[in-house]
């Protein structure tokens, strides 16, 4: 889309663009190109000399069982976060759409976890499930279920999934509610006259018509689980026990800033960039095509 009427000036547009270009140049393009450059270089232990190593960093990366494991961990984590987050919010949105009285109240009460910082969410859930002082951990122990996410990798994964889903429900809920409210009432009324009950109407009308929203949220949730959950992981489990919850972003941080392996960390950054770009492309293609039946 283009504007028909424009202003004429040779220098003004550049002046207007200057701040934005300066910022993205310094803090986006330069670092991104450095990441690509470092990923094909190797520094010695003291950072004194760098050597061109080609794709060796990548080969080392994918030969590293820990890195491959981190991939599986991340895949499992994002699948759990996306599926759990989407189903719970769809359920809540569906009921909120039905309710006439108090709908606004429910909405207000459900959306504010969006404001809670991921790191704070991580701390809250650690506190609830802390083996020593946590109320929920205590309750589980009373029920005969020994909870200790500091020792048990599965429980640690469950903990960060719960914290991540809890924070994301509000976002999904808002989009589903908006999607449900935009479905024409006449369709649903027609189905009701034909004798379809609420359950049937949901699966044959509302759910298919929501598919663009669902697909969009699927991509957003995967991106969220990949990147925005770093703070939750760092606050709740620090990637432990062992490496059981070390998702990819956490590993980039750990290898680059704790283990000081700049080449390996840069190679991981590049792999992540490729993943994000792929996800974005998928999102744009499908959102334009509108998943629908």
């Amino acid at each position: 889309m283009e504007k028909r009427v424009r202003f004429r000036s040779t220098w003004l547009p550049w002046l207007l663009l200057a701040p934005q270009l300066a910022v993205i140049g310094t803090f986006f393009f330069w670092p991104a190109s450095q990441a690509v450059l470092q990923s094909v270089q190797q520094q010695d232990a003291f950072g004194l000399s760098t050597e061109w190593v080609g794709l060796a960093n990548f080969q080392r990366l994918f030969a590293d069982p820990l890195y491959v494991e981190s991939f599986t961990t991340t895949a499992l984590f994002s699948a759990l976060v996306a599926v759990a987050g989407i189903s719970i919010s769809l359920l809540l949105a569906q009921f909120a759409d039905r309710v006439v009285r108090g709908a606004m109240v429910y909405k207000t009460l459900l959306i504010w976890p969006y404001a809670v910082a991921p790191a704070v969410a991580g701390v809250l859930w650690t506190f609830m499930f802390s083996p020593g002082v946590g109320v929920v951990a205590w309750g589980l122990r009373e029920l005969g279920w020994d909870w200790n996410h500091l020792l048990n990798g599965r429980q640690a994964m469950a903990l960060i999934v719960m914290a991540a889903v809890w924070k994301q429900i509000s976002y999904n809920f808002l989009f589903f509610l908006a999607g449900l409210q935009s479905i024409p009432k006449s369709l649903i009324e027609a189905a009701a006259i034909d004798g379809a009950g609420p359950w049937r109407r949901f699966w044959t009308i509302q759910f298919p018509l929501l598919s663009p929203t669902t697909f969009f949220l699927l991509v957003i949730n995967v991106v969220y689980a990949f990147f925005d959950t770093f703070a939750i992981v760092d606050a709740a489990t620090q990637g432990g026990p062992g490496k059981d919850t070390a998702i990819l972003v956490y590993k980039v941080y750990y290898d680059g800033f704790k283990a000081l392996d700049s080449g390996g960390s840069a190679a991981q950054s590049v792999v992540l960039m490729v993943i994000v770009i792929a996800l974005t492309v998928v999102q744009f293609r499908y959102v334009e095509r509108r998943v629908n039946y």
Partner: protein
């Protein structure tokens, strides 16, 4: 409503109330913990009713006079750092984006397509995937432990530019022609017509970006090493670093409540703009 089904309506309310309770439970627990002494909390299970130490705890957390095992930096100072950062990120992003969207939409100049494309690409890569090199740039510029280092790298993203571009494209051309006839130049048109028209988008973006800025974690973790430049979100994480028993959970929880208060207030008080902002920025 399509048909009268009392049982289903009751079920709806039941599920929603249950959902609200589950969503609220962690916060309730946090609040309760912030009103007890550290000893009361350690004796599991802690009471589920408010205790009588709320004021002491919040005061101790704000001034940094508590006796926890981890860090004891005053939360008041951290809240200030967070507030400054969130505001600088928000205002900076909105200003820069308004200007560049105006340039891209209302002017024709060589390399316009390239500029547009360059801004577009930044949408794809969050700061998390390029932390290492970005950190080096900021360190080389000597910006570690400064407000500039904490905020400017986070301004480098194009969500807002796109939002404004979309909006500018819907502004009728007649407005430009009218202001031209009145003898107004481009900047005059921008300040007197375009910015006031964008008020709604600016408000929506303000809410989203404020929350984004306030909740930043990974970047401040790297860009700050001195205690008086920690945003409150980092401060909380450092308070629990001492291990399970040594943590003064009452102060940690008081800090958590303080840390989530400003963004939660923004969401609740500006709910309409918040929803609009969420929907718009993801298009």
């Amino acid at each position: 409503m399509i048909e009268r089904r009392p049982a289903l309506t009751v079920l709806s309310h039941l599920v929603l109330v249950l959902g609200v309770l589950i969503v609220a439970f962690p916060i309730y627990l946090t609040f309760i913990a912030s009103t007890h002494t550290a000893q009361d909390i350690v004796q599991a299970p802690m009471s589920l009713w408010p205790g009588g130490h709320a004021l002491d705890n919040y005061w101790a957390a704000l001034t940094g006079t508590g006796e926890g095992g981890g860090s004891n930096a005053p939360v008041g100072r951290m809240m200030l750092v967070s507030l400054v950062c969130a505001l600088v990120i928000t205002v900076g992003k909105i200003t820069i984006s308004l200007l560049s969207a105006f340039a891209v939409v209302y002017f024709r100049f060589p390399l316009r397509g390239l500029c547009f494309w360059a801004i577009f690409v930044t949408l794809m890569l969050p700061v998390e995937v390029r932390i290492g090199p970005t950190y080096q740039v900021v360190a080389d510029l000597g910006l570690l432990n400064t407000y500039a280092g904490l905020t400017v790298p986070l301004i480098a993203s194009a969500t807002a530019t796109f939002l404004f571009r979309q909006f500018f494209l819907t502004v009728p051309d007649e407005l430009v022609e009218a202001s031209r006839i009145d003898g107004a130049g481009p900047m005059r048109f921008f300040i007197d017509t375009l910015v006031p028209l964008s008020a709604t988008s600016i408000a929506a973006l303000f809410v989203i970006q404020f929350i984004y800025g306030w909740n930043q974690y990974l970047w401040p973790l790297l860009a700050t090493t001195s205690e008086d430049m920690y945003p409150v979100v980092i401060g909380i994480k450092r308070m629990i670093a001492g291990g399970d028993a040594a943590v003064g959970w009452n102060l940690v929880m008081a800090t958590a409540i303080l840390a989530m208060l400003p963004p939660a207030l923004v969401v609740i008080l500006m709910q309409k703009w918040f929803v609009k902002g969420l929907v718009d920025t993801e298009k």
